[in-house]
Structure formats: structure tokens, C-alpha cells
Amino acid sequence: MAQRAIARFGLSLIRRNLKPATSYNVCKKRSLHNTPTTVDNSLTKSYSYSTEGNNPTSGSEESASDEPFGNDEVINDFMKFDEELKEKLKTLDSVSIPRKSDSLADYVNSSKVLQTLVMFGVELYTIEKQFKEALDFLVKLDLNRDVVPKLQFLKKNKLTPQEFGATVTKNPHILDPQNKIEDFEEMIEYLRSKKFTSKQIASLLVRYPKFLTLSVPKIDGILGFYQKLPTNFANTIYFSGNQLRSLIIRCPSLLTADLEAVFLNIKLLEQSFGFSLPQIKNMVTIYPNLLLLEMKELELRCRLFLFEMELTKEELSQAALVFNNRRKRTETRHYYLKSLGRNQYKPDQKGYLSMLDVVVGTDEEFCEKCKVGTIEDYERFLKTI
């Protein structure tokens, strides 16, 4: 019933165009404005109701004008025309996609791959900020060909599906079709050959997935550098296998750090402040992130501990976790203790406060552990400084 109605409507359109083509009666070519980019150009041609070209009954004008519902051929041609459009509509999305854009948000509504990634928990906004090169291939991914095998590979290496999102945000290059699974397996085999246990490798995968896309010979060189850390005056610090492995596991960003900056930090500790080599080794094993600090910041923190708080180098090297907290916080806490006369950091003396109690933790914990009063007293002091 409705098909007949459509056919009637279509025929009426054709009938209009079957009138003799006089100069005042020519229909202009009409094409769709603002066509979406995924539509083929062949469609636009079929939309144009011109007197030339697609008109099927240009020859038999008289018969069409006499019988409105007659010609089965006309109806069939029109229905075929409609079917082509219906098939295209199934694949076509109702959203027009820009050809070029800075963000993945423009493509999320029309791409199933990006929608599955979002459902896993991948943060697309961080990828836009940090990995701009990765946007290119992420839009063109294919679910079954690219994404699924890699997720299966990650699952094989003891990664739960809840952790997929976090790993992909930290390193979207995992999903790059150019980085193949064989390369990842080569990297993991290399680490196994260096006696990293499978538990350690799994923890690395979760916390630092960037190592999968690094090149093996480069990592070999970097591990060799850390095993025999050069210091100033052509001395070296040697780490045993176990020590090096624990270093890397606790601070994996050492692998992609600037080696010159690391060298300069050690040079600062040895030459400017005069720490001995075993002391430096102790500090690095306790708190390896020390090497990643900026040189100026490390210098200012050392000055605070050695000259203001009057710690010895031996004490500081054993309490190296103290470098973790922000310098301004430790400074204000030290001045507060000084104003109360309770800044006693030597273990022999009375009223001894260990550095970890003073420096580590929030201000409320500091007030409780050191028994220095309430947080309101501390805030009242902060308003004078």
C-alpha cells in the first residue's frame, strides 16, 4: 500500500520532468548541499533531477503522461533507486565527520572502536594532550584486526580487563598496527633473560606500559649505564643484579630519563656536597626518584637538610626518603619546631624527633606524631611566616 503511495509520488515527480523541455521549463541540476564526506559521489549524481542523463523514459513521453500508474518498468527502476539509498543509509552515520581535527571527540559517535575503548576506561582527553602522534592511527583502528589480538596478548601476561584502560592511556602506542606483538614478546623475553621474574614484569606492565614500545638494544645500553653508574672523577658505583632489578621495578621511569641529567645529579651530590660513594649508593637504593629531580631542586633540598636543619651527611644518606616531600612544607615545619624550641634531630639528645616523622605525611599527621599541638596552632604560626 505504502509502496504504491511512494511510487505514485515518484511518478508525479518524473511526470513533471517529462514535459517538453522548453527554455522556460528546464529544471536546474539539484545536488545535496553539505554532503557528508563518507557519501560516494555516485549518489549525488542520481539525486539531480535533470532532463538529461538518468531520466529513464526520455524516449516514451507520451505513454507516461497518459497512464499515471502504468509502466511497471518505471516503478521498478524507481524502487531500485530507493534500495541503493537504503543500503547506503545502513552504513552511513547521521553525524558528519570532519576531515581533520585535533581531538578524538569528533569521531567517537561514529566509531565503534573508540566507543569500546571508552567503555574499557581509556581516557581520550589525556591521549589528546600527551600523545598527539597517536591520534592518527587510533581513529583508523579495526576492532578485530588490531585491538583484540593485543588485548589477548596483554591478558596472557596477567593483566586484568579492568587494567586495560589505564595501560592504554599510559601508552596508546601499544595499539599501533606498526608495533607488532612479536616486538612486545621480544622485549619481555629480553627482560626474562635478565632474570626479571614474571611477577615483576606484570607489575611493570601495569605501572609503566611504555617499556613495551621501547627498543631492546637501547634498553640494554641504559641498563648497562645504571649497573656501572659513572660519577665525577672517573669513579663508578656498581649495582648487583638484584639491586638493579629492584631499582628499575621501583622507579621504572629511569628507563626513559635523560641520562645526562642523572649523571649531573650524581656529580652534584659527590662534588658540591661531598657525599661519599657508599652514601650515594645508599641514597639511590632507598629513593631512586632522587636522580630524576631537577638539579636546582635537589641542591636546594640538600641545602635545607644539611645547613638549616644541621643534619650530617651520614644521617641524611640513611633517611633519603626525606627528599620526597615538597621543600616549602619541610621548611615551614622546621621553622615551626624552631619557634617552639623542639627542633632536635640528633638521636642522642632529649626530645629527639625522627626525620621521617617530621617530613613525611600530611600536616595533621605531623602534628600528631611530633606532639606539637593542634592543627590550629600550626595554622596560626603559618599566618606569621
Binding site: 559517535n109 582527553y125 599566618k383 606569621t384
Partner: protein, 374 residues
């Protein structure tokens, strides 16, 4: 204690106004102000956000899922509906998903405008305004020129390049002859000259009744910038060589206070450097107040509470544009230049008769030419 705000867009709409913050020393101004905004942004992103937006999509009857809402529920005609007809349906918009867009509020959503800024080395109250209403109030607050109170510590016997302890010390001198009495007398002298000069700088005819009434209310202040005006000076502590003074002033910056301490040292025939400057009061905003927030106390709830508190503290007449000079013919003296070679004393006493000069003034002029701060 009011009920806490839990809906983020509501909190964002209400975070509009003026409040005070305590700035610690050794922190530059701009990083401090942007860290206030960062804290607010972190806090507001942790509250409940607006729901994800939806978009309308045309789907066939077979493809519609249970989670999709039809757009038109009232006009559902069942005549002539086939499997292939398209229906409009509301579907969650992936474009607006929080993992795609990121946190709903960003640093650039908040505008924080400050009144007069504090140095790196100075600490104290900093009046701050958030967004439209806040910036408007800050501008009016600046124009009102309410008096400010500072606490400054000085150290006798040293003179440095910038009148602080940071730069190179250029001179040393003895200070044992200085007593609290001498300092107090000098402070009274300075205070007197500044007050007289400010009254003279307004340009009002001082023999009228109106001038007397305005002077009673304390509104006899110059309308243009005439250099810093010191309303009140007091010696608070004196433990030689260190001393502390409280300065109440208008139109002053922290560098002017350091210059003041340097000049007090010169008048006492020694030198002095400034070791500590704290702005204790800025109009009605006090540093003691629990509503002036430290950086560690800043979150959405406390900022809203302090804004409501200070809205009551700022009485309606305080920020109003005063119109009492509108119909007056002001006879203004020569405008005082902002050149740093002039000392605070000579700037204030410029309007005095040039014929009468005391020994102190000539000494000061000589010293001001050779002083390294100028």
C-alpha cells in the same frame, strides 16, 4: 556552618565574589594565584557533575534498544508503521562522555583578579576576586583606597642595595646610640608631615564647614595619586639592633615600606635594612580572621563561606564612589611625580613653604642624592 554544596554547577555559579587569602613569604605572586585556582578546580571536579548529554538519532523499530528513549511519546501513531520506518530516539552522546571530554571544569574557567599585589618577600593578606562580581568588587575596592596596615621589622647598622637582607651590604655603621625614645619621636614627625600633606593635597578650601565635616569622617584624602600617605606610625618592639614598626598607610607598595625603614635608619644617623614585611590589614580584611584562607585551607566550601562572611563585612557605603568633591572647585597643588629619587619625607613636604628648611631637610636632600636605593 552552612550545608555543604554537592552539585558542581551550583557551586560554580555561587563561586562569585570577593574574599581574602594569606600569602606566605618567598612565593612569587603569579604561581601562588594560579595554585589557588588549581585547588578550586580540583575540588569542584570531585563534586557531582551534570549528567551526560543526549542526542537524537533516527533508528528503525528493530534496532531500538531498551535504553533509548523515544522523543515523541504523545504522538505515536500506529497506522502505517512498518519495520523499516525510522523513529527519532534519544541516545547518550559519546561526544559528551567524561572520559572523552575530561574534567568538566578547567583552570581557564576561573578568573582571579587581585587587588594590590605583594612582593615575593612580603607576606600577608591578599584580597582576591573570583569571576565577574569579584572583579567588579576588586576594581571598586581599589578605587576606594581604604587604609592598609603593615608590620615591618628592621635591622639597624646595615645598608644594602635593595634595603633588604638579600642583596649586597654596602655600608655598616654603629647603632648603639639609638634608643626607643628617639625612634618614637622620628615616627611622630613623619606621621605629622604626611597627614598635613594629605590634607593639603586634596585641594579643598580648609576654612569651610564642609572640609571640617569631611575631616571628621576621615574622607579628606587626595583624589589623585600623590605618593604613599602614612596615616599612623607606631613603634611596636625594640630589641637593639632589631626594631619593629606598624604602618597604616594609603596607596603604598611593599617597596615603599622598605624605603621607609631605610630612611628611618638614615635619620637616626645609622643605617637600616628591612627583614620582614607583613600586610596585616587591607581595609576590613584582617590576617587573624579565620576567614582569610591559607593555601592549604582552600576548597569550595570554605571559599563560599568566606565570601558570605566578607559580603557582610564590606558595608554598603564602603565601596561607594564618593561624590562630596563633585561640585567643589579644587585648587590642587603641583602634582607630585613618581620619581624614586624623592624620599618619602620630601614628597610629603613638597607643598610646604620652600623658604623654611630645617637642618634635617638639607641632610635628607644630600643623603637622598647619594642613597643607593634611589
Amino acid at each position: 556552618m552552612s550545608l555543604p554544596v554537592t552539585y558542581a554547577p551550583k557551586a560554580f555559579r555561587w563561586l562569585n565574589g570577593i574574599f581574602a587569602v594569606y600569602k606566605p613569604a618567598d612565593v612569587p605572586h603569579y604561581p601562588f594565584v594560579s595554585s589557588i585556582v588549581d585547588k578550586l578546580v580540583l575540588d569542584i571536579n570531585s563534586l557531582e557533575q551534570r549528567p551526560q548529554k543526549k542526542r537524537v538519532v533516527f533508528k528503525r523499530q528493530s534496532e531500538i534498544e531498551d535504553s533509548d528513549h523515544p522523543v515523541d511519546e504523545s504522538n505515536q501513531s500506529h497506522v502505517g508503521q512498518l519495520e523499516n520506518t525510522l523513529k527519532p530516539v534519544c541516545v547518550p552522546d559519546w561526544f559528551d562522555h567524561p572520559l572523552v571530554q575530561g574534567p568538566r571544569f578547567r583552570h581557564s574557567d576561573f578568573e582571579l583578579l587581585c587587588g594590590t599585589t605583594l612582593d615575593v618577600k612580603a607576606c600577608g593578606v591578599l584580597v582576591v576576586g573570583l569571576k565577574d562580581l569579584g572583579s567588579d568588587l576588586i576594581k571598586r575596592f581599589d578605587r576606594a583606597k581604604l587604609p592598609r596596615k603593615y608590620l615591618a621589622h628592621g635591622h639597624l647598622g646595615l645598608a644594602s642595595l635593595s634595603a633588604t637582607g638579600e642583596t649586597k651590604i654596602v655600608e655598616r655603621s654603629t647603632w648603639q646610640h639609638v634608643t626607643a625614645d628617639k625612634i618614637a619621636r622620628i615616627l611622630m614627625h613623619i606621621q605629622g608631615t604626611h597627614r598635613k600633606a594629605s590634607i593639603r593635597q586634596t585641594g579643598v578650601d580648609l576654612s569651610t564647614q564642609k572640609a571640617y565635616e569631611l575631616a571628621l569622617e576621615g574622607l579628606l584624602k587626595p583624589q589623585q595619586y600623590c605618593g604613599p600617605i602614612i596615616l599612623d606610625l607606631k613603634l611596636v618592639e625594640f630589641k637593639p639592633p632589631k626594631f619593629g614598626i606598624e604602618v597604616t598607610c594609603i596607596d603604598e607598595a611593599c617597596s615603599d615600606i622598605r624605603r621607609l625603614i631605610h630612611e628611618i635608619g638614615l635619620i637616626l644617623k645609622t643605617n637600616a635594612i628591612c627583614t620582614y614585611v607583613q600586610r596585616q590589614q587591607d581595609g576590613p580584611f584582617l590576617y587573624d580572621d579565620p576567614n582569610t584562607l591559607l593555601l592549604r585551607q582552600i576548597n569550595v566550601q570554605r571559599v563560599l563561606e568566606s565570601m558570605t562572611y566578607f559580603r557582610h563585612v564590606l558595608t554598603p557605603g564602603m565601596l561607594k564612589r564618593h561624590t562630596h568633591f563633585r561640585n567643589e572647585t579644587l585648587v590642587l597643588p603641583d602634582p607630585v611625580s613618581k620619581a624614586p629619587t624623592q624620599t618619602l619625607l620630601t614628597a610629603a613636604s613638597d607643598t610646604q613653604d620652600k623658604g623654611v628648611t630645617t637642618d634635617d631637610d638639607t641632610l635628607l636632600e644630600e643623603l637622598s642624592e647619594t642613597s643607593v636605593g634611589g
